[in-house]
Amino acid sequence: MEIAYVAVIILFCLGIYTIITKKNLIKIVFGVTIVESSLILLLMLVGYKPDGTAPILDKEYEIVVDPIPQALALTTVVIGGSVTAVMLVMVIKIHRRYRTLNIDEIRKLRG
């Protein structure tokens, strides 16, 4: 399971890389989504125990995976979804106003 942490790191850094380098606004939002997913994956990994069962205790159990990270993950998913939605509608708005998605051309504010 340890390799999964590496995957988390790769995804996280890939998302950050996308956010800081890509010129397209939608690509930046993609980056945000990727980072978010990587964090949720990290939460799952943190909660995971080898040979554990899901935290729904309707039958006999020995090892149960940690329920707290799963609850946190649900909250994170919702927050991420809301933020992404707001970002996207703002992308649309910016495209309406500036007629471009290129981030280098969206610079009426400077100084």
Binding site: I16, I20, I103, D104, I106, R107, R110, G111
Partner: protein, 518 residues
């Protein structure tokens, strides 16, 4: 206990009341005379304590030096307010009240915290006085404010150093941070190199503002110097240099008030020398000189103010009006010029004599003579324009009664002190053991004056000449330009590209990681 500074500040608050226009005369009269009376009856040794945060402050403390200074401040306040009450608008009158009040509080303050606060308040009120006074003084006010705030921040830094070194805020001679305090004082008393604000301000500001400013700004600097940094001998030479510089510059000016401001630099040189000697005679000589200087310099500024009021400008040629149409002003001007030149039986003579007596180094003595000589020379120029040269000026307006009243009050006081110098000594219980009217002192007093008359007659052409190109070099503007350029370059980096901003952020992250890991 009502302190005079507090009285003035209350007066400023009272002027905020939505009262009839006429009431401002009554309030001004009551406050100014009240402050004078209160100051007169102060007992040296009295002090007031106040707990503020963790500090024990002494916002009010009287001793003989502060009483002397306070007294002359109150007198000059009475004169200045009655001079300007008729001319200036209500907001400006408020600011004048705040200014005078904070100057008086600085004089009577017993700890560094109070001193700093009211020192800064002086700066603020005077700057706003300049800024609000007319349309042409905005930039001057900006410059003045920045210069003085730089000075007072330097004082603050000195105070902090002193506080962290000694752990107390009491008003003794500084032990740490002396250079910073000296810079602060140098800005306030327009020491050479820090003087750039002075000719600019005094020549541009409306005349009543210049009168009020010239009374307090530099003199508070002198007073604080006597308190915090007296007895640093090397400064005597610095004072001498400053004074000589003032003379040279004053002789090259073509505006009366610029001449007067450079002459302030010269006169302050006397006080610096007196204070730097460090002995009792020296300090009290400086203080007496402060009193005298306030008297005659105020009268001179007021007289120029009357000329401006009546003719509209302060070119040298306009001074000619004095002889023809303004007899009272002429008398006052003559008395003041005699005083400033140190002619016996006029008031400047007394304090100059004390300082000269307290000096022991021959070089400084020579310098002092040179200073007297230069002072007389530059004021001979003034006399020449006012009384000798023909002019064809006409009165535009008549000077108001209150203006003449203020001027007359001070002139009478000058004459009194000049004829009977012991008056001041008795009033403040500072006794300097000098016989003013013996032969030796009289001759040494009159000598520079006579020399200057001779030189003036001989080199009339050069002294009276109108200089077209004025010496003006300002390093502070260059520093300001550097600041502006830096800001411009920096703001060009903010070109609105989000990628760039995010890149900065990531770089910061890595830097932080590297810094904190290793």
């Amino acid at each position: 206990m009502i302190t005079p500074g507090f009285l003035y500040l209350t007066g400023a608050l009272l002027l905020f009341l939505p009262l009839h226009e006429r009431i401002k005369y009554i309030i001004s009269f009551l406050i100014t005379t009240g402050a004078l009376i209160v100051t007169f009856y102060l007992i040296p040794g009295y002090s007031l304590q106040l707990d503020f945060l963790n500090y024990t402050l002494v916002p009010f403390k009287v001793d003989s030096i502060s009483k002397l200074t306070g007294l002359i401040f109150a007198v000059a306040g009475l004169a200045a307010v009655s001079y300007s009450v008729n001319i200036c608008s209500l907001p400006n009158l408020r600011l004048i009240f705040v200014f005078i009040g904070s100057a008086l509080t600085v004089v009577f303050s017993g700890d560094l915290f109070t001193l700093y606060i009211f020192w800064e308040l002086m700066t603020i009120s005077s700057s706003f006085l300049i800024i609000m006074a007319s349309d042409f003084t905005k930039k001057t006010g900006y410059y003045y404010f920045l210069m003085h705030v730089a000075g007072s921040l330097s004082l603050l830094w000195g105070i902090f150093l002193q506080y962290s070194a000694t752990g107390s805020l009491s008003l003794n001679a500084m032990e740490a941070g002396i250079p910073f305090v000296l810079i602060a004082i140098a800005v306030k008393l327009a020491f050479v190199g820090f003087h750039t604000w002075m000719p600019l301000t005094y020549s541009k500001a409306p005349f009543y503002v210049a009168v009020v400013l010239s009374i307090y700004t530099t003199k508070v600097g002198v007073y604080v110097m006597a308190r915090l940094a007296s007895g640093i001998n090397i400064l005597a030479y610095a004072g001498l240099i400053s004074a000589l510089f003032g003379i040279v510059m004053a002789l090259r000016q073509n505006q009366v008030r610029k001449l007067l401001s450079y002459s302030i630099i010269t006169q302050v040189g006397y006080m610096i020398i007196g204070i730097s000697i460090g002995t009792f005679e020296g300090t009290s000589g400086a203080m007496f000189h402060l009193v005298n200087h306030i008297l005659y310099k105020t009268v001179l500024f007021m007289a120029v103010g009357v000329v401006i009021y009546t003719t509209g400008k302060d070119e040298f040629d306009n001074l000619g009006i004095m002889r023809k149409k303004l007899p009272l002003t002429s008398i006052a001007t003559l008395v003041a010029i005699m005083g400033i030149s140190g002619v016996p039986f006029f008031n400047g003579y007394m304090s100059k004599t004390i300082i000269k007596d307290a000096l022991h180094e021959p070089l400084l003595k020579l310098g002092l003579d040179l200073m007297s000589f230069g002072t007389s020379l530059m004021f001979l120029k003034l006399i020449y324009y006012a009384f000798i040269k023909n002019s064809s000026m006409n009165l535009v307006k008549k000077p108001t009664i209150s203006m003449q009243l203020g001027m007359g009050l001070l002139t009478v006081m000058m004459l009194l002190i000049g004829i009977h110098p012991y008056l001041l000594e008795n009033l403040t219980n500072i006794h300097v053991d000098i016989n003013y009217f013996d032969k030796k002192h009289m001759i040494s007093g009159i000598k520079p004056f006579l020399w200057s008359i001779a030189i003036f007659i001989l080199f009339n052409k050069y002294v009276v000449k109108n200089y077209e190109r004025l010496l003006y070099f300002d390093i502070y503007r260059k520093m300001g330009k550097l600041f502006v350029t830096t800001g411009y370059v920096l703001s060009n980096y903010h070109d609105g590209k989000l990628n760039k901003y995010l890149l900065w952020a990531t770089t910061t992250l890595i830097t932080l990681l590297l810094l904190l890991m290793f």
